[in-house]
Amino acid sequence: MDRPEWAPPGIDVERPSAARLYDYFLGGSHNFAADRAMAQQLLATAPDIPLIAQANRAFLRRAVHMLAESGIRQFLDIGSGIPTLGNVHEVARDVAPDARVVYVDLDPVAVAHSAVLIKDQEGVVAIQGDVRKPGDILHHPTTRELIDFNQPVALLVVALLQFVRDEDDPAGIMAQLRDALPSGSYLTLSHGVVDGWRHDREMVKNLYNRTTTPAASRTRAEVAPFFGDFELVDPGLVWVTQWRPDQPSNIDGIKAAKSAVVAGVGRKP
């Protein structure tokens, strides 16, 4: 980035952002005209995107629910997005009212939204942060205040890494994040992949390159290493709809392989 070190990323409403596009695809109105214009272009090429987004969001819900049920009380959600619907703290607190959540996103509007949404809720905070600087997130005073790194933590990296390109060393970033967690912690990860993608790949990529966070294309096989030595819980790294699907499962909006998103939950030994 050419910005001087001290200049925080500003809000450019003229420039589409992944966070607001995602919100639009989930049916939210937390987006600007520029986002919607690009969404229309994306939809023209890949009409499944809203279904994919929903499937991903549903995975997040199922995973957080499972983690809360298995006793996890601390959630670090990086790339949390705009709190559209079914946010992590809502899902977790349904099970465990004392669950604590730190939301982290690069997009200042997403952070501001989160701040408005969680206002006055103790144990839930939103900070602006860049996953490419994991140290800043881990050592952020707010993170340290809320999360006890001696207790198991659920790290959520859901539909985020497809916006981190290889030159930013996602493997190194993930290693650093995993290392910060104590044994018994979980990594919940989903990643958009090119396998199963039936639509014009280049077109979609080019469109995303116009956003504030250009996309990286990875295959299913390239996603698995992000778990490091974490042990994948059942059913492993699978299409996002196949990860512990709800019953009845016949009311999913999209077929598994078309989701073009793989997901999994790993546990630190």
């Binding site: 001290w6 809000i11 199922r62 619907l85 509007v109 501001a112 999913d252």
Partner: protein
């Protein structure tokens, strides 16, 4: 009004569930509903039951369906597609559930669904407006936060620019601004600068390296910070090992002295790091000045100078600025700066003071004494500038020039009379150290001018004749070898090891003027006789300096002193006066 029978299967859960499942399937993917599938079905079953109740209400009133439409949206079954699919499913499935056909309850179902749609679209519109409001707020908030972050980072940037990285203290830039502001505001009457130098730091860094040096500095800074806070005075790191404290309206010198003592006491406690106990020391320069008409640069220069005085005084000392001393030093520095140019412009000249033989009161020699005709200060005596010339190394060049002048003058006098006086020229240690150079200069000069070597005498001061320095000894031997005379100047004022005198190639001892000055006709304890005897025992001639009265002259003669020099026999004077003197005498002789 037609009374319809209660719907068949109204309480039959399985029917309701089946409708709900069909409904759920129909709206799947049309909007994201943050619920597990079972919950979605349960939720829709609930809506189905309520809708059925509305459909079969007696009398029929569709309006509660409006509220159900609103609630559907609130439960996140919210998208245009969802409404479309919902109408489809319900139009198909509700009438059989109610035990009627679409045909028979067609109108009711239409009115029900239309009420539902009204509620639904109203809900959707409300939701969109709410979200718009919320994104507006979030954007404003984000913008504020961004601006705030920007301000903070600029603040941090500014902080970094005016603070020292290592100690976190304000830096010199900050301090200078603070002082300038204070002067400009003019609120304070007086301001004192307490300029602190950590004198032990250089040695620590030299010995243990930068890491430990920095560590010691940080600890020192922390101590100072704590003290400064408790005293309520701003503190800054000025540079390297220098800190500065600003004291507004100090309560007089004793107060400042107290502060300085406190600082020194605080800082001179050893620093404990790793395995080392590092002894610490500090010096302080204090300047107290009225704010009115103050020049910040001036004050800081004064503070730095005062710190130097304190350092020169010893370790753990402070000094208060002394304007007179400062003036002297400033003048001295200015003079030192003028020296080189002065030599170039030939501003130095010689005066000659007669050296008289007591026996017949004849002028047997003259001592050449340097003067500086300074363009601004006028005539200056050597006391004002010889030290400066030595410090700056200019003495070698100056000494060379003076030798040249002296030799040429001596040659003039030699032409004038049969018994010309020798010329005695002072030579500085640095000139002697430049041994070969000095020898060459003297040798060439004698040749070039054509002066008999015995008409030149070099005076070296007692301290300069370092007996243990073989190089100096060789130089003196070589010069003596040329036939040039050598005299030991200011004898008795230094601390010579008398033993070495035996071997020095010297011709004359010049007894320091203090001995003559201290002598009284009544005194019984004078060293003068012993000094004269010492000279004679070494086969040297004795010359007493500083003779100002006839009593002194007579006494010196009575104890056998050979020569004298002093006002009584003639002040230092222009070469021309000496010339006239010589001419008078040679006329008398003839």
């Amino acid at each position: 009004m037609i009374v319809e029978p209660p719907p068949r299967g109204f309480t039959d859960g399985t029917h309701i569930t089946r409708v709900a499942r069909a409904w759920a399937r129909a709206v799947a993917g049309a909007s994201y509903v943050p619920m597990a599938h079972v919950d979605i079905e349960l939720r829709l079953a609930g809506f189905t039951t309520r809708l059925l109740r509305v459909l079969t209400s007696q009398p029929f009133d569709p309006s509660p369906a409006t509220q159900i439409g609103v609630e559907l949206v609130e439960a996140h079954f919210a998208s245009p597609e969802t409404l479309g699919h919902t109408i489809n499913v319900l139009a198909d499935r509700l009438p059989p559930l109610a035990g009627t056909s679409l045909d028979s309850s067609g109108r009711r179902v239409m009115r029900l669904l239309s009420a539902l749609s009204v509620g639904y679209t109203r809900g959707l519109r409300e939701r969109t407006l709410d979200e718009q409001e919320s994104i507006r707020q979030a954007t404003v908030l984000a913008q504020l936060q961004t601006e705030h972050a920007l301000r903070e980072s600029q603040e941090a940037f500014r902080h970094a620019a005016v603070h020292d990285q290592l100690t976190g203290l304000p830096n010199r830039i900050f301090f200078e601004k603070q002082l300038a502001d204070l002067i400009e505001a003019g609120g304070a009457h007086n301001v004192a600068i307490c300029f602190i130098g950590i004198t032990s730091l250089q040695a620590i860094t030299d010995r243990f390296g930068h890491i430990l040096g920095d560590k010691a500095l940080t600890v020192t800074a922390d101590r100072l910070r704590t003290l400064a806070r408790s005293l309520g005075h701003p503190l800054a790191r000025f540079a390297g090992d220098q800190f500065v404290m600003l004291i507004e309206d100090p309560a007089g010198t004793p107060h400042l002295a107290g502060v300085a003592d406190q600082i020194i006491a605080t800082l001179s406690t050893p620093v404990h790091t790793d395995r080392h106990l590092l002894p610490m020391s500090a010096s302080i320069g204090l300047v107290d000045r009225p704010v009115a008409g103050m020049d910040a640069n001036d004050v800081m220069r004064a503070a730095a100078m005062t710190l130097q005085w304190a350092k020169a005084d010893g370790t753990n000392r402070w000094q208060l600025f002394d304007p007179a001393r400062s003036d002297r030093e400033i003048a001295k520095h200015a003079l030192a700066a003028d020296l080189a140019g002065g030599i170039d412009r030939d501003e130095f000249f010689l005066e000659y003071q007669p050296l008289v033989r007591l026996e017949d009161r004849a002028v047997i020699g003259v001592e050449a004494l340097v003067r500086w005709h300074h363009p601004r200060h006028g005539r200056l005596n050597p006391g004002r500038f010889i030290d400066l010339a030595e410090e700056s190394g200019q003495i070698v060049r100056l000494g060379g020039r003076l030798l040249d002048k002296a030799c040429r003058q001596a040659r003039e006098w030699a032409k004038l009379t049969d018994s010309p006086p020798y010329v005695s020229v002072n030579v500085a240690v640095q000139q002697l150290r430049d041994g070969a150079g000095l020898l060459r200069t003297v040798d060439n000069l004698l040749q070039e001018v054509g002066l008999a070597p015995e008409l030149l005498q070099l005076e070296i001061t007692e301290s300069a004749s370092i007996p243990d320095d073989p190089q100096l000894r060789r130089t003196l031997d070589d010069i003596a070898g040329l036939g040039v005379r050598l005299a030991l100047d200011d004898f008795g004022s230094g601390y010579s090891n008398l033993g070495y005198l035996q071997n020095l190639p010297v011709n004359q001892l010049k007894i320091d003027m203090q001995f003559v000055r201290d002598w009284k006709p009544s005194s019984t304890k004078s060293l003068l006789p012993s000094l004269v005897k010492l000279a004679h025992d070494l086969r040297l001639s004795a010359l007493a300096e500083g003779v100002e009265t006839s009593e002194q002259a007579e006494y010196l003669e009575s104890i056998g002193c050979d020569h004298v020099q002093g006002y009584y026999f003639g002040k230092p004077q222009a070469a021309s006066s000496i010339t006239s003197l010589l001419l008078e005498w040679s006329a008398e002789e003839i």
